[in-house]
């Protein structure tokens, strides 16, 4: 991963983490604020419920007191005093009075607990009313009232009237139903729901809502069931079709503190949900903007930081490619400026060192050349010196001997002078290596001419020669230079097989290149010998100049190819020449320089 990308990642992650952290903090604070406000509103609504409960209770007490003062109540009391009492005239009395007094439930019971008349369940006459046989509460209270079709919660009040030793109980109530809940002024987003029933699990039928029967009533089941088990206030978050809602549940208890139902205050989390969505949208926007800024900033910083580094890297690559003059412009005074300065200093030192090395090598080369030249020239000079000394001594011995010696010496002198000229010519050739003249060259013809030149030597040393040319088409090459190269390699091979052997000449096309192999079965080369084989003036032969293979390498290199050697001691040596075919040059004018 590049520095630029790392920098971008660093900047982006920093921005994103920051935005995420801020978002989380704001979200948490918003939620806490919403929860706190919700708790306060719930408490206010519950307090309002209790106030309404007390007000309604007082109103019910007032109404049943009014009933107690009615003539119907007195007639019932008189009837109760009869033996046996006849309550049949009062079958519908409670219904009529309840309607007049706007009471949902109204029952009259005698002091034996027998219901005389019931508004909510007229058929229940004659049955027992437990409230009349116990000491009824003196203040309004909640009670679960059995009805023909189930039961209902009511806010009850009881009063009694008496005459002589008879008492009449008047039990009136208002049902805790939708109209009761409608009196509560719930803040926007809040609802009050009643659940009637203290046990037996959850049933949606027992829900009484201030708005409507809850469509998502089943969501309330867990909190109701928990309340039925613990009888303790509880809170929960439910998921409804209209969104999330907070639910606070409070047990509703009767006169004996038994749980009769539950008051559920639901609060929509829509405002918080919207706020949270807005926070998230803002965070997303901020993150996007931050990301853009991060990209721009990282690009700018990367540009400031990486440009010098890239320039440094470019200069280093250039240096590695051999450009000893590579330098980096220094435009900063920071660490990167120091680095660039160090690089420039390094390149300068490298250049100096290189120059010194070149000079040193050049001097060494001159010394080597001088040594070689001296060595090569010294060999023929010694016979020349002896021949001249013989001539001088022969002058002293007489004309005849001198003549004989002169003839012999003259021949020797000519031979050695020829040797000297040959040596000088080789050095001259090496110093003046001509550029290849590319022309169509058929390798089989080249091989044929070279082999023909060495047939006598091959025959003399009993070397079998095998030529395999698998290249039909002509290639572009300098026939004379390649001829010289092959001839040199064949000569070396013949020298390597003084006891005879096998010489292989092979040529084939491989991957668009021409591969030429010259293989002998001589004694082979040691690894050290193979490594120095192409070094000028290196030779393993007693009378070699060490220039043959150097010249061959120079020719092959000038053709754009390369020469290598593969050898193992005792198993022969193979020289491998790889040449580009250069067939594209065949259409060019013969003699074109590459």
């Amino acid at each position: 991963v590049s520095f630029r990308r790392r920098l971008l990642l660093l900047f982006a992650s920093t921005v994103l983490l920051s935005v995420a952290a801020v978002t989380i903090i704001i979200s948490v604070m918003s939620r806490r604020a919403f929860d706190r406000a919700n708790d306060e509103r719930t408490a206010a609504l519950v307090a309002q419920f209790h106030r309404e409960f007390d007000d309604q209770g007082a109103e019910i007490s007032r109404r049943i007191q009014s009933v107690a003062e009615s003539s119907d109540a007195n007639r019932m009391l008189v009837a109760a005093a009869q033996s046996p009492p006849d309550y049949s005239p009062f079958l519908n009395t409670a219904q009529v009075i309840a309607e007049a007094q706007r009471l949902d439930f109204l029952e009259f019971a005698d002091d034996r607990g027998t219901i005389i008349s019931s508004a909510q369940w007229p058929a229940k006459f004659g049955y027992a009313e437990p409230l009349a046989t116990q000491a009824p509460p003196t203040t309004p209270f909640l009670k679960q009232e059995e009805l023909p079709s189930g039961s209902a919660l009511g806010l009850f009040a009881v009063t009694t009237i008496s005459a002589a030793d008879r008492r009449l109980y008047i039990i009136g109530a208002v049902r805790l139903d939708k109209s009761f809940l409608d009196r509560l002024e719930a803040p926007a987003g809040m609802k009050v729901v009643l659940y009637e029933g203290s046990s037996g699990g959850f049933s949606p039928e027992h829900l009484v809502s201030g708005d409507a029967r809850e469509a998502d009533a089943l969501e309330l089941a867990p909190i109701i069931q928990g309340l039925q088990a613990s009888h303790q206030a509880a809170a929960a978050l439910i998921h409804t079709s209209s969104g999330d809602e907070n639910v606070n549940a409070f047990p509703l208890t009767g006169a004996n503190h038994q749980m009769l139902g539950a008051l559920l205050v639901t609060s929509s989390r829509q405002i918080y949900t919207q706020l949270r969505a807005q926070i998230r949208a803002a965070a997303l926007l901020a993150a996007s903007a931050g990301l853009m800024v991060a990209i721009l900033l990282s690009s700018w910083v990367a540009a400031r930081v990486t440009r010098p580094v890239e320039q440094l890297a470019q200069a280093a690559r250039s240096l590695a490619a051999g450009n000893w003059m590579a330098e980096v412009a220094i435009s900063r005074k920071d660490e990167l400026g120091a680095l660039a300065d160090s690089f420039n200093r390094m390149t300068r030192e490298l250049r100096d060192h290189q120059e010194r090395l070149v000079q040193s090598e050049r001097a060494a080369a001159w010394r080597e050349l001088a040594r070689r030249l001296a060595h090569e020239l010294k060999n023929p000079l010694f016979p020349l010196q002896l021949t001249v000394e013989n001539l001088l001594r022969a002058r002293a011995h007489g004309q005849q001997q001198f003549d004989e010696t002169f003839r012999e010496s003259a021949s020797t002198l000519l031979t050695e002078i020829a040797n000297l000229k040959n040596i000088i010519a080789k050095f001259s050739d090496f110093s003046r290596m001509p550029q290849p003249q590319f022309q169509p060259l058929r390798l089989n013809e080249l091989f044929e001419s070279v082999v023909k030149l060495h047939l006598a030597q091959l025959a003399k040393t009993a070397i079998a020669c095998k030529v395999e040319v698998a290249v039909e088409e002509a290639i572009a090459a300098d026939p004379e230079l390649l001829h010289r190269t092959l001839s040199n390699l064949i000569s070396n091979a013949i020298d390597a097989m003084p006891e005879g052997g096998s010489l292989g000449l092979r040529a084939r096309e491989q991957n668009g290149s021409i591969r030429i192999e010259v293989a002998d079965t001589g004694k082979g080369l040691a690894p050290q010998e193979a490594a120095n084989l192409f070094t000028p003036y290196y030779t393993s032969k007693p009378h070699g100049t060490g220039l043959g293979l150097a010249i061959a390498q120079s020719i092959v290199s000038d053709h754009g190819g390369r020469i290598s050697v593969a050898s193992e001691p005792g198993r022969g040596t193979t020289f491998i020449i790889e040449l580009p075919a250069h067939r594209d040059k065949l259409s060019a004018t013969p003699g074109t320089h590459v």
């Binding site: 049949s88 005239p89 079958l91 007229p122 058929a123 049955y127 023909p148």
Partner: protein
């Protein structure tokens, strides 16, 4: 049947009230105004099933015979009849000179055609001025059956039903629920005293009483539970004997002994006395049997509801039975509630069900006739129970048949309810039979005094 005719005579004498016995001379003319709760769709006598409607039907249509207050068949369109030995072939001499309201004579063929429509199991022949009826099995009750409203002689033509009664339909406005009957001047027994009768249908009992109190009507129905309050209001009432059977009817026969025990426990749990005294304000009597005691003379041997002894313990686990009743009737609703309360004590949960598929139905069945055997037959027929078999017309046979019906555990009798009417003092010679039937044919109105 004659054994308890004395009871009927006594009952009838009790029910005839002072106005009918007034020494005032009958007065021709006037329009009697009646308000009724029921609202019939037509006036085909086969479809009129309440005592009041049947009474109206008798003003328009006649039968071959009519039952008197003692439950004895009396000549009507049949001047006389005789039966051949074996009680399977009956010959009725058709009264001569009777004409339908369109002027066509009522002959044997008209009567035979009318009777065939309602009695497919009879073979009916018109032989000159005789109508001959043959039954598959001996049937001593043929004359009584011919007195039923469904055996009224009617000729149906062009969507109209024509009769030969003392009144004829002058106007019927189904939308306004108003009927006007005019006196039949050609009536073979003589023109009635009243010129016309106007009936307003579909009036609740409360509205009827208000119309009566306001002088807007002359005669109204009084529901059983309203009889006592009406009496306390010093209104002019005519009250029948307890005749309408209120009962619980099971949809099917019990399938096991456990089901028999359940039905017995349910029957015993019901406090019929409280039902009668409180809900119906003593407007009837607790019923142990299907026929009222004044008719059968033996009903007291069948204990009523909890009089038979409350169930020893409630059923465990509680059993639920679905109960169907007329939910539009507030009295039926409160009765059903009371039954549910009582049944709950016995471990039976009665669940209201408006569908006809309910296992139990709360029904009110008016007395069909003053003939006990015929009543049992009609009751069994209307409830689709096996028809009782009577070996002879004795009270023993009647008791045996009723016991058999009760022991089938398909019916739990609850109450026998009275029917009553309230009428203005200007109405004279109006009578209500023991079976709740109205006798309007001889009624007359005294002139209004300013």
């Amino acid at each position: 049947m004659k054994r308890f005719s004395s009871v009927l005579i006594a009952a009838a004498s009790l029910l005839s009230v002072a106005p009918a016995l007034a020494a005032t001379r009958p007065h021709y003319g006037g329009t009697l105004r009646i308000a009724l709760e029921e609202s019939p769709e037509n006036f085909d006598p086969a479809a009129l099933d309440t005592p009041a409607l049947r009474s109206l039907s008798r003003l328009i249509f006649e039968n071959l015979v009519q039952m008197d207050d003692r439950g004895q068949p009396q000549p009507a369109l049949a001047a006389s009849w005789r039966v051949e030995p074996g009680n399977q072939r009956w010959r009725f001499q058709v009264r001569s000179g009777v004409i339908l309201t369109d002027g066509t004579p009522v002959d044997a063929s008209t009567i035979a055609a009318s009777l065939r429509a309602g009695n497919p199991h009879w073979k009916i022949f018109a032989l000159g001025d005789l109508v001959m009826i043959e039954t598959d099995t001996p049937d001593p009750n043929v004359p009584a059956e011919l007195g039923l409203a469904r055996n009224s002689i009617v000729r149906r033509a062009n969507g109209r039903s024509l009769g030969s009664g003392p009144f004829l339909v002058e106007q019927w406005d189904a939308a306004a629920k108003h009927l006007r009957l005019a006196a039949n001047n050609q009536y073979w027994a003589g023109r009635p005293f009243l010129d016309s009768i106007e009936v307003d249908f579909g009036k609740s009992h409360r509205d009827q009483m208000m119309l009566l109190d306001l002088g807007k009507t002359d005669l109204v129905e009084v529901a059983p539970e309203q009889i006592r309050p009406a009496q306390s209001g010093n209104r002019n009432l005519l009250i029948s004997m307890p005749e309408e059977l209120m009962c619980l009817v099971f949809a099917r026969d019990p399938q096991s002994d456990g089901e028999v025990r359940l039905r017995t426990a349910l029957a015993r749990s019901i406090d019929t006395t409280a039902l009668n005294n409180v809900i119906f304000q003593a407007g009837g009597e607790p019923a142990g049997g299907l026929l009222p005691n004044w008719l059968s003379g033996y009903e007291f041997v069948f204990p009523s509801g909890s009089e038979a002894g409350a169930p020893e313990r409630s059923l465990e686990p509680p059993i639920t039975l679905t109960l169907n009743y007329d939910s539009a009737d507030p009295v039926a609703r409160i009765v059903a509630d009371r039954l549910s309360l009582n049944a709950k004590d016995a471990g039976v949960h009665l669940e209201p069900l408006t569908s006809d598929q309910a296992e139990l139905r709360l029904l009110r069945l008016p007395l069909a006739s003053l003939d006990g055997q015929l009543d049992l037959e009609e009751l069994a027929r209307s409830l689709e129970l096996p028809l009782p078999a009577f070996g002879d017309p004795s009270i023993t046979a009647l008791y045996t048949a009723e016991s058999t019906l009760l022991q089938a555990h398909r019916i739990i009798p609850l109450l026998h309810l009275r029917s009553a009417v309230a009428l203005r003092p200007a109405v004279h010679q109006f009578q209500i039979g023991a079976d709740g039937a109205w006798k309007l044919e001889n009624a007359w109105l005294s002139p209004e005094t300013p």
